[in-house]
Symmetry: C2
Amino acid sequence: MTEEATQRFVEDLVDKSEDFSTWYVQVILKAQLADYAPVRGCMVIRPYGFAMWENMQRCLDARIKATGHVNAYFPLLIPESLLAAEAEHVEGFAPEVAWVTHGGKEKLEERLAIRPTSEAIIGRMYSKWIDSHRDLPILINQWANVVRWEKVTRLFLRTTEFLWQEGHTAHRTREEAEEETLKMLGVYQSFLEEDLAVPVLAGMKTESEKFAGAERTYCIEALMGDGKALQAGTSHHLGQNFAKAFNITFQDEDRQRKHVWQTSWGVSTRLVGAVIMTHGDDSGLMLPPRIAPYQVVAIPIWKKGEERARVVEALAGLKPMLEGVCRLHVDDRDEHTPGWKFNEWELRGAPLRLEIGPRDVAQSQVVLVRRDNRKKEFVPFAALPERVPALLDELQRAFFERALAFRQANTREVTTYEEFQRVLESERGFVVAGWDGEAETEARIKEETKASIRLIPLVGGEAAPGLRCVCSGRPARYRAVFAKAY
Amino acid sequence: MTEEATQRFVEDLVDKSEDFSTWYVQVILKAQLADYAPVRGCMVIRPYGFAMWENMQRCLDARIKATGHVNAYFPLLIPESLLAAEAEHVEGFAPEVAWVTHGGKEKLEERLAIRPTSEAIIGRMYSKWIDSHRDLPILINQWANVVRWEKVTRLFLRTTEFLWQEGHTAHRTREEAEEETLKMLGVYQSFLEEDLAVPVLAGMKTESEKFAGAERTYCIEALMGDGKALQAGTSHHLGQNFAKAFNITFQDEDRQRKHVWQTSWGVSTRLVGAVIMTHGDDSGLMLPPRIAPYQVVAIPIWKKGEERARVVEALAGLKPMLEGVCRLHVDDRDEHTPGWKFNEWELRGAPLRLEIGPRDVAQSQVVLVRRDNRKKEFVPFAALPERVPALLDELQRAFFERALAFRQANTREVTTYEEFQRVLESERGFVVAGWDGEAETEARIKEETKASIRLIPLVGGEAAPGLRCVCSGRPARYRAVFAKAY
């Protein structure tokens, strides 16, 4: 690119507040997180975006394993008859399935679904593996790609193919399964809040929003920068639905043959979208340190040729020290000015910028600049191994606090339908209100306001006596959280 | 299982020397590495087998990144027209492709291939991303699943779907691409020999065995316990074939527009099979410490109830100390005897067994037993943090030495076709011999002996003056390595 073109590259980014959805797509393409693929609704996750996903995987995988789960891998292809075994499940997923009908030149006797989710194929294997109460619980997780034939797609948030993890567990009792379902919801909440710095609400989905085949679906919901909600993860109590469909039984201690109780839970590459839409600003991405591909980007600054050698040499000396305490990238490209690099790495969301020029070298110091508030501080070389991790921790916390403050400012409890409609129309955000528990009311609200019930909060979701449904005026059964959503 | 059934579980394993291929399948199923899936030619990788794969991924991913590569993710589905753009490529892969023809209820206008490999879709993206010499080299790797509609399948070695990594790089010059192709071959060789303890030969494939669309294919070949060869990894110099098919060009320093030079390289879950068939013995698996899910399996031993508490408590005290230096599993199941556990963990290939009984506790020591030669040694508690890693290193080396000795004993250089045929008939192994370089001779040898040319060695592959082709008797062009192969 010419210098003029590169200048445009950063300047062309539309303001986030002005046109959020254009900003979202631009920042993804310009930061090279992802690109459109030559297949309908599919995307390519480019190295910078994939490094975010790898960091997210590493954080979450450790949490999943720390709670006693192990990873495994089940086939991509599911025979149609197997997918059809659980009635609600097939009804929910069949419209979204990509079907394989030919292998090489041969037409298949039975169509194969590319997994939209793996309950069916895993259920079939569990019926083979589980025989005694000693085989329980089974606590398996899978990292995999899935395909759902979506009508409307959007980078990271809803793509025909996406990457995810799906946990599938089997238990002796309903209580154990319920405990597992909630435990994993908690794992997701900690992962989002601590690693992604994305605050979430945790609660239960309504009947109309639950997973096809589940007895109960729990979820976490986050609030994006434009005031729309994003379902960030789900955890399903499957009851014995799949156990009955796939005949998954065990001999209990009392020698009775019983069906197992199951759960499943998942989060996906959609979370990359959640991070972008939670933390970004008009200058581009802001990546939480724990998952940023590069936590510190070092930019050498010089004017004259003889300065270059001194700066580069000093930086090379600092490198081993810094690499031990952070993920470092040194941007030593000659074809761009420092100013241009500042802009680019702000756009790409690097949490900390390290500047070093000839005067800094003379004083054995560098300048550290925070991405969030652009505050600068001079740090002596010797203090870097301590100061950098401390600053990254501060940033991680600051990102979360900032997002939490935004959510709190955009969560409003209302009692009248007029106010309900007005808030959703003009300010969006989460709206907390009484709901009579009727699917009909839920549908009417969605029809009239485009807002859905995101969840019944785990804490505070029961209606206090006297609370009325914001729409029907009847006594409320729940205190629900509504929002327009992705 | 009853004690009788569990006894059979281990005893039923056939001798490796007696019936290698039954042994192979039995040991996979009994050790719970994998299971057959209800889809033709597909398998489920169970947690114990998947943990091996995860360890292998971690080791290889670090090597791939250390050589400057980054990971990314490209779509599973490839439009038929895109796959067809490179003529040799589509001809080679079309017969093995699983085709998606429907999305939900809608019939697709163009069929989509489930990727059998990703040159086509990646080539298309590279043509979009590469513009200047400054964009080169591109050094991208992908961990993914692929599907090839195979006629005959075998657990891990050849399955309809398998997991692998595929590197795809683009370079300015032929020389750089050739250097990359050989560099990655070297990375694979180090990975197999150092991490998997599997010795390999490195060399070039013949024209008839090279990758569809490549200019040249290099490979590494390992010798399995039954004397058959296994292709363990390939690295292709793609020349400008895909660059021309997908119009991948760049403006060079001289301002000329040129096609890039490309490489691709991959290894797959087939390597789990290689580890099993290289190191196993009549008692089951032998897993190299670097990739064993559990490097040390601790088995508490007691007879009377009061002994149990003492042993379990001592083991609990050792746990933190051991977990810092190895992957530890404590097998404290009450339903099995220690003897049964010994057998099971030998079958499952744990490199080191740690036994601890009441007398050991009294003497503050444990017994460590090596999987390979069953040598026992008494180790004081305090010495464990040093002794365990040292022993694991010894085991890792011993596994490699043992496999190397086996390969050396089963590599024979011959000069007459009679001897060539006799060796391949009665002893198998690698057979080194002169080859005239003619495809016709190669085909005739394969027809008559079922042996193929595994590779032309990188070192020593040129025919010395006077060497004659073992089959045609004409002057040899190469000194080739032949074997029957998986």
